[in-house]
């Protein structure tokens, strides 16, 4: 009897040992699959982020070792850096105008595409083309041509009797609009996402509404809009973060000018880091950008409870 119990506990411990061994083996297998990402995450993302946090409290030109300056960078940014405030203002204006415009276009066109006409697949492809190439140097070159003094836009405006003989991208009031147009022009990618969302709305809902005598406008506001809000939410978050990081087109089309009217935050950060080699100062700018983007994202998340419809919760 006693022997048996002993055997049982032996067996148990062998089981435990086996399970532990198996688990350890599984962990090892997982690590082998994960290793590229683990290396990247710790070595190229998390480590550098912490290092950049440290740098933001230093003065560092890459020629000599970083020297600790405490909060000096942050104090100077907030109290004595006009370009910081200017670039923040420009960027926020851009985000607040370009993101909703782009999404409004995307949603409107997606709804039109979804009306069941023939050829919508072809048109979807056409609308998508600018999204593929919109960030390229080539388009920046073209954009400068089209919006230039002797460009196509001014000529077309001339046909309608508007005489504009200036470079749009060097006009202090219009330069930012040249870039906003460039972003809105690329409404194709959010449009395709909206379209996929629209196609997932069950047809029965519309049929049931028709039976109940709802007209098109009712159906749109009571069915389409609520059911598309999760997609809208997703698009809003991603487009907003992307707009905050706008760099290439501002760098190439307007070069931040005229008189810094299109000095986007990412552009200012680039100049501080890679033209002036003030790595410490630029790191502080980067962390402020992260906090600004984080706050805006958090606000959108927070507000989403009020306007995003989740079916599983039975409405609001």
């Amino acid at each position: 009897m006693e022997n048996e119990v002993k055997n049982q506990s032996d067996l148990q411990s062998i089981f435990d040992a086996n399970r532990k061994k198996r688990r350890r083996k599984n962990n090892l297998i997982a690590v082998s699959f994960l290793s590229p990402w683990l290396l990247g995450f710790f070595g190229f993302v998390l480590g550098p982020m912490l290092y950049s946090l440290y740098l933001s409290f230093t003065s560092y030109s890459m020629l000599t070792a970083p020297s600790w300056v405490g909060l000096d960078n942050y104090i100077r940014i907030f109290t004595n850096d006009n370009l910081f405030w200017l670039s923040l203002r420009v960027t926020l204006l851009f985000v607040v105008v370009a993101t909703p415009l782009r999404l409004a276009f995307a949603l409107t066109v997606a709804i039109i595409m979804n009306t069941g006409h023939k050829g919508s697949g072809f048109y979807t492809l056409i609308y998508y083309v600018p999204s593929i190439i919109g960030g390229s140097v080539a388009i920046a070159v073209i954009w400068r041509q089209i919006w230039g003094r002797d460009g196509a836009l001014n000529e077309i405006l001339g046909w309608f009797g508007f005489e504009a003989n200036y470079n749009w991208f060097s006009h202090p009031d219009f330069a930012i609009w040249v870039l906003i147009f460039l972003i809105v022009w690329q409404f194709g990618s959010p449009m395709v996402i909206f379209l996929a969302g629209l196609r997932q709305i069950p047809q029965e809902l519309y049929e049931a509404a028709s039976v109940d005598g709802a007209n098109k406008i009712h159906k749109f506001f009571k069915i389409t809009m609520p059911l598309i809000t999760p997609v809208l939410f997703f698009n809003l978050i991603f487009q907003m973060i992307n707009s905050f990081m706008t760099f290439t087109q501002a760098f190439l089309v307007t070069e931040g000018g005229p008189i810094n009217r299109t000095l986007f935050y990412a552009l200012y950060l680039y100049r501080e880091a890679f033209t002036n080699f003030r790595m410490g100062y630029a790191s502080a700018l980067a962390w402020i950008l992260l906090i600004v983007i984080g706050t805006c994202t958090w606000l959108v998340f927070k507000s989403s409870k009020k306007w995003v419809y989740y079916e599983s919760e039975g409405g609001k």
Binding site: V129, S136, N235
Partner: protein, 281 residues
């Protein structure tokens, strides 16, 4: 919606939608047209989409590039970087996603949360420390900073996309393989990998488009004109100091977009499906 469309509705639809399509494509059509225009016509008849005569030599002149650097060099560089970046993205996204989707391991949910967090992380935050790191490794003025990150999860979104895709593959398949004595490596190689083809194509297309277009990383890491990618070469070419004529510049702009157009035409089915299901870009 099976409501019959009246002829009037159809005409209004196609006029509006087609008109908008024309406006959308106008800058691109303009580019191709102007790349063939004689120099003076680019500004004189600026809006026109039909060149009065076709100047194909714009392409030949542009191809010579500037200084000693021709566009053949830039295209070779771009092709090299892009190919390796695509391989990196395919390798990393499948291997890592397999672990997250199929294996059980310690800290799994924490690590997955980290992955999701990096999807949304603005690149500006890591830009400077990564530059310093690559600088200290002696990688500035090599292609390594553009290539190596793709092998170690530089685009976490692709991993996420793959995780979602692999989760959709029935688990019975790997269980059957395991019972037959297959290891997890075997399951990955023989069972899962062949089934991820549609997702692989999506990853390939997007990584290609992004790397080909990428401007900021080459701008920071490649100072030597020998190493310029097409994006940088085009920018160098458009520099007022190098620029002699507009025709060749616009010709080279058109040419720089050609690989993307070709890929788009051949893979548009995957591309549109890819964005629709994953919400890329």
């Amino acid at each position: 919606m099976d409501e019959r469309k009246t002829l009037r509705q159809i005409i209004i639809y196609h006029t509006f939608v087609g008109g908008l399509g024309f406006v959308m494509l106008y800058p691109i059509l303009w580019m191709f047209a102007s790349s063939l225009k004689p120099e003076h016509e680019i500004f004189l008849n600026a809006a026109s989409l039909i060149p009065s005569e076709f100047r194909w030599e714009n392409y030949a002149i542009g191809w010579e590039g500037f200084g000693r650097y021709g566009f053949d060099l830039f295209f070779r560089n771009s092709l090299f970087v892009t190919t390796l970046a695509v391989i990196g993205a395919l390798f990393c996204s499948t291997v890592v996603a397999f672990a997250f989707a199929r294996l059980q391991f310690k800290f799994q949910s924490v690590l997955f949360a980290c992955l999701l967090a990096t999807v949304m992380l603005p690149m500006q935050v890591t830009l400077i420390p990564q530059y310093i790191l690559f600088h200290n490794l002696g990688w500035v003025n090599t292609f390594l900073p553009l290539i190596v990150p793709t092998f170690i999860g530089g685009s976490p979104f692709f991993i996420f996309l793959m995780v979602q895709f692999i989760r959709g593959i029935p688990r019975e398949l790997d269980e059957a393989a395991i019972i037959d004595g297959c290891s997890w490596y075997g399951v990955f190689w023989y069972v899962i990998l062949p089934l991820t083809k549609p997702a692989l194509v999506t990853v390939m297309i997007f990584q290609f488009m992004w790397t080909w277009d990428d401007f900021l990383s080459p701008l920071i890491y490649l100072q030597n004109a020998n190493l310029y990618t097409v994006a940088l070469g085009l920018r160098g070419f458009s520099d007022p100091d190098n620029l002699t004529a507009w025709g060749p510049l616009i010709a080279m702009s058109s040419l720089s977009l050609l690989p993307q157009f070709v890929l788009f035409l051949f893979c548009q089915k995957y591309l549109v499906k890819g964005i629709a299901t994953t919400g890329i870009k």
